[in-house]
């Protein structure tokens, strides 16, 4: 008889459903009955019966299996964590961890300090990066689709014209809208006390496109606020409203002067919104095309080629930046060709970038710098973690016995790992908390720092620690914790039980100790490198201060004066400067008054190649390099620049008379070589045909661009022959009465023009310090990093030395017992402990020397072999290294040999 088979799928389900130990019995029982049923009632009924059996078995079987699983899970937790008592267990772990850590205060302190330093450095740097790159600008809620639009020429960003803007805004299909803006510093004020502020002229759709709302009044609206039909109105920021207008509740509708031009204030922004650029704070918004002096007027806006505006826009949903860029480039090029067919050969590259608080042109640079900084602090944290791992490895070996005993007594490995990880996490929590607190302090310090910026310019970085920074700190803390604890912990709980129980001190493998030596060698190398470089930087600053600048800034105060704010004509401007100088000179207590277009070191101007009759220009050049400054009479006296020959400028050196110049000593020596240059001529441009200047005087050399520069050709031209509306007022007062004198200057100024920003003189030294700022910052950063490296290096050397020496207490005891001198033993330990650090330090020293050589080409005043920098830093590093080894060595040698030997 043909055997009837059970339903295949039903049987398969049953097979996989039933517990393994019951499976065979159950299935065979069922098969038995199936066979009987086939015989009794036929295959069909039997098969149906079988299927029903399987279906009905599912519920109970699944229930059974889940309850078995649940029970197993529950009992597992009862055993290892104590489902209900897990909190107690954790408490116990933590209590034990605290006790263990407190038993070793030096280790604990070192570990917490290391973590705190590393985590605070990372958190602080990240909060700067966060503030610069990631923090949303308050008020701009909808950044989706916002893009920055700019033109690139040879890879460099350039501004575009209003007419291109108009074309792109009207024709683009990929953009929902496009707005344009330009930064413009303006003077703001009623009829008295105007002040300089950072302004931004914007197209009518600026606010709507950004999606920001006014706190008071209204903003410019897209339908009525486009050039040329712009009314005279302005929107001010909440900050300006509070600080400049004392939160005047009736501000709306009042008029104020922008560069002397009357505008109505129609709105105030909400707090926090200071324009769409993250770091640079705007104070006032004026419409593009506002008819005021000192802002872009019709001639700039009519010219389709003028580069006066920057753009940003919002793409339509689903449009990518590449697509938008392609369309905008094509539109712009078509428009350009329309204006001038020759434009075709130049092309027109419009670039579209995603939105960010940092403007596109500088974003890449900022990001690179941020990445380098993050890398550096990351390195510090990694170095710290290596140290900790090292220390824990050492402790792990020390604790081998304890751990071996606990394992031998039946403690689970998981339990031990948990215990050791609890210790590590406790360190991370304490170190991380300290690190975040320190970072908060550091960022507060950064924010309180005010670089000596020109008046009116404010930088506002919100570096406050937010959730993103907190999350970052937690993540790096946990990572650091895992980095330094996991490997040593796993190793520690897998000891070779027998040697550990037998108290064999040589348990640590030689390979591992070689690794430790290598690590501390590297650390000390890095320490030495950073410290010497920091020393070189610091010394370069003192070198600079010792260098003879040629001028004397003592007692000199400066203040910018910009007549563009007042809409002065050329003639009126010249008169104004003469009048101002005369009036200030008359103030009692004033020693000298002068104007100059540029500060010393504030850059230099050139009128092109300079030629002197009788000197052929260098091959391939049109003349000699020479730079100039525009100054008023009295400038040389003010700056203590001796007039060696001839005379200073005077008020008769005016436009319409022969152009005159005062040259510096280098130029006189070079081209007149002992002859008297007074009355001779030189030319800006080709000799004989260029603009001729009659030499009327020779002054002592000074430094013009950087303090370390070589003497260069330099000449001065009189202010009245070369009008510049932007000058720096220089005043020198008799010491002690500055306040009274400045008050009188302000009064004089107000009498002359109530619409101009009032001068706020500050010491020239302060104004100059911005030029050495990058160097100062570099010195600080290298110094701090060097110090951190020194601490970490010391901790590392100390940790490794004290461990390896503690492993040798028996040997030391034996040596002393056999009559060795304690000092001999100590010096032996130092010698052996310092081998790796010494090699590291030598390499670091060589690297620092090489770096100094390289840096000396870019850092003025930096001497790559500066003996003071080298000697002091080498001494410090070596001293710290020796101490770190000597302390544990001395401790070991001071132990009574009987104690260590008896411990056998």
């Amino acid at each position: 008889m043909k055997r009837i088979r059970q339903p295949r799928y039903a049987r398969w389900i049953l097979f996989h459903m039933v517990e393994k130990r019951e499976r065979d019995f159950l299935i065979e029982d069922l098969d038995d009955e199936f066979d009987h049923l086939v015989a009794r009632a036929g295959a069909k009924r039997a098969r149906r019966w079988y299927r029903v059996q399987v279906i009905r078995s599912m519920g109970p079987q699944i229930g059974r299996r889940s309850s078995v699983l649940l029970n197993r899970f529950r009992s597992h937790f009862h055993k290892s964590y104590g489902w209900s008592s897990s909190v107690d267990r954790l408490k116990q772990d933590v209590k034990y961890a605290i006790r263990t850590l407190l038993k070793r205060p030096a280790f604990t302190l070192a570990a917490v300090a290391t973590l705190a330093i590393g985590i605070s450095a990372n958190t602080a740097v990240f909060s700067v990066v966060n503030g610069v790159l990631f923090k949303a600008i308050p008020g701009i809620s909808e950044t989706e689709g916002l893009v920055q639009v700019g033109r690139t020429v040879d890879g460099r960003w350039t501004d575009m014209s209003y007419r291109i803007f108009h074309e792109l805004r009207n024709e683009s299909e990929t953009l929902e809208d496009l707005a344009a803006f330009a930064f413009v510093p303006v003077s703001v004020g009623g009829t008295t006390d105007p002040t300089v502020h950072m302004g931004i002229s914007v197209t009518g759709n600026y606010f709507e496109l950004l999606g920001v709302q006014p706190a008071l009044g209204r903003f410019f609206s897209p339908d009525e606020w486009f050039y040329p039909g712009v009314p005279s109105a302005a929107v001010i920021t909440d900050r300006m409203w509070k600080e400049r207008f004392e939160s005047n509740p009736d501000i709306l509708g009042t008029t104020t002067l922008v560069n002397g031009h009357s505008v109505e204030i129609i709105g105030v922004t909400r707090p926090g919104f200071n324009g769409h650029i993250g770091a640079a704070l705007m104070d006032i918004f004026i419409p593009v095309g506002l008819d005021a002096p000192g802002v872009r007027g019709p001639s700039d806006l009519q010219n389709w080629q003028s580069g006066v505006l920057e753009f940003f826009g919002r793409t339509r949903p689903g449009v990518g930046t590449d697509e938008a860029a392609a369309e905008l480039s094509a539109l712009a090029l078509a428009y350009a060709i329309d204006q001038n067919p020759a434009a075709e050969q130049f092309g027109f590259d419009v670039r579209v970038d995603t939105w960010g608080p940092i403007p596109g042109p500088v974003r890449l640079g900022v990001m690179t710098f941020s990445a380098v900084l993050m890398g550096l602090v990351g390195l510090v944290l990694t170095m710290g973690c290596i140290n900790l791992a090292n220390m824990i490895l050492s402790r792990g070996v020390e604790r081998r016995q304890e751990i071996a005993i606990r394992l031998a007594m039946g403690a689970g490995r998981a339990r031990l790992v948990r215990q050791l990880l609890t210790e590590s996490m406790l360190l991370v929590i304490v170190g991380g908390t300290a690190g975040v607190l320190a970072a908060k302090w550091l960022t507060d310090l950064f924010m309180a720092f005010e670089p000596p910026l020109p008046p009116g310019i404010s930088i506002g970085l919100d570096l406050a620690i937010d959730t993103r920074v907190m999350a970052f700190s937690v993540v790096i803390s946990v990572l650091a914790g895992l980095m330094f604890s996991l490997l040593p912990t796993l190793r520690a709980t897998r000891p070779e039980l027998l040697p550990a129980l037998k108290d064999d001190p040589q348990g640590g493998s030689p390979k591992r100790s070689r690794l430790r030596q290598l690590l501390i060698g590297v650390q000390l190398g890095v320490t030495m490198f950073l410290l010497v470089v920091a020393g070189l930087f610091t010394r370069s600053l003192t070198h600079l201060e010792a260098l003879d600048s040629g001028w004397n800034a003592e007692g000199v105060y400066v203040s910018p004066i910009d007549l563009e704010y007042g809409g002065y004509s050329r003639e009126a401007g010249k008169e104004f400067f003469i009048d101002l100088r005369d009036r200030i000179t008359a103030i009692a207590g004033i020693e000298e008054v002068a104007f100059a277009a540029k500060f010393p070191l504030g850059g230099r101007s050139s009128l092109g190649d300079m030629n002197v009759e009788g000197f052929d220009p260098p091959a391939g050049k049109g003349g000699f390099a020479a730079y100039f400054n525009t100054v008023s009479p009295g400038y040389f006296n003010m700056m203590d620049l001796a007039v060696l020959r001839g005379r200073d400028f005077d008020n008769f050196d005016r436009e319409g008379t022969q152009r005159v110049a005062v040259i510096n000593r280098t130029m006189a020596e070079h081209y007149w070589n002992g002859r008297d240059p007074i009355g001779d001529y030189f030319y800006a441009g080709p000799a004989g045909t260029g603009t001729s200047f009659e030499v009327i005087g020779v002054v002592e050399n000074a430094k013009y661009k950087s303090l370390s520069e070589e003497p260069t050709n330099f000449y001065y031209v009189p202010q009245q022959q070369r009008y510049n509306p932007q000058m720096h007022l220089h005043v020198k007062t008799l010491a002690g009465n500055e306040t009274a004198v400045f008050a009188l200057i302000r009064e004089t100024f107000r009498e002359m023009d109530r619409g101009l920003p009032i001068p706020a003189p500050r010491p020239l030294e302060d104004a100059l310090s911005i030029f050495s700022m990058p160097q100062r910052i570099a010195a600080w950063v290298a110094g701090i990093m060097g110090l951190v490296a020194l601490i970490l290096g010391a901790v590392g050397v100390y940790g490794v030395a004290s461990f390896s020496i503690s492993q040798r207490t028996k040997e030391i005891g034996l040596r002393i017992a056999l009559g060795a001198d304690r000092s001999t033993v100590i010096s032996l330990m130092i010698k052996q402990g310092l081998a790796a650090p010494a090699i590291g330090m030598a390499v670091g020293l060589a690297a620092a020397f090489a770096a100094g050589k390289g840096l000396s080409f870019v850092i003025p005043g930096l001497q790559p072999t500066d003996p003071v920098a080298f000697l002091s830093m080498v001494t410090v590093t070596v001293l710290v290294a020796v101490l770190s080894v000597a302390l544990p060595a001395r401790r070991a040698a001071s132990i009574d040999p009987m104690t260590t030997l008896k411990a056998e």
């Binding site: 049953l14 019951e22 029982d29 399987v54 009905r56 078995s57 109970p60 059974r64």
Partner: protein, 112 residues
């Protein structure tokens, strides 16, 4: 396990225990299934029987032995169940409780 809970048996558990008591020596899964099905006239799945016997074994009420393979070709082993001492106690306890609960109730008289 909670000792107070121990004597109480769910209805189907009680059926299985009673079936095991009835079947004596030849008590295995399929036999229990048939016994309950025949006596209570309600369909019983083999899966339910095995889930319950396993649970009762966990509770210590049932014990089993694996038989030698049956003396036929391809003969297999069977898992035979017996009541343990505490199993017998539990059945007795359950029956007593049931009795006490039912004493004097009219519904019982009416159903017979």
């Amino acid at each position: 396990m909670n000792p107070i809970k121990q004597p109480f048996l769910a209805e189907f558990e009680l059926y299985v225990m009673l079936a095991v008591a009835r079947l004596g020596e030849k008590c295995y899964g399929a036999a229990i299934r048939r016994e309950i099905e025949e006596r209570t006239a309600r369909p019983v799945s083999i899966g339910a029987v095995y889930a319950t016997t396993a649970r009762l074994e966990d509770k210590g009420f049932l014990a089993h032995r694996i038989s030698d393979p049956l003396p036929i070709k391809g003969g297999r082993s069977r898992k035979y169940y017996t009541l343990t001492k505490s199993g017998t106690d539990a059945v007795r306890h359950s029956a007593q409780m049931l009795n006490r609960m039912m004493t004097g109730l009219d519904i019982i008289a009416e159903s017979h």
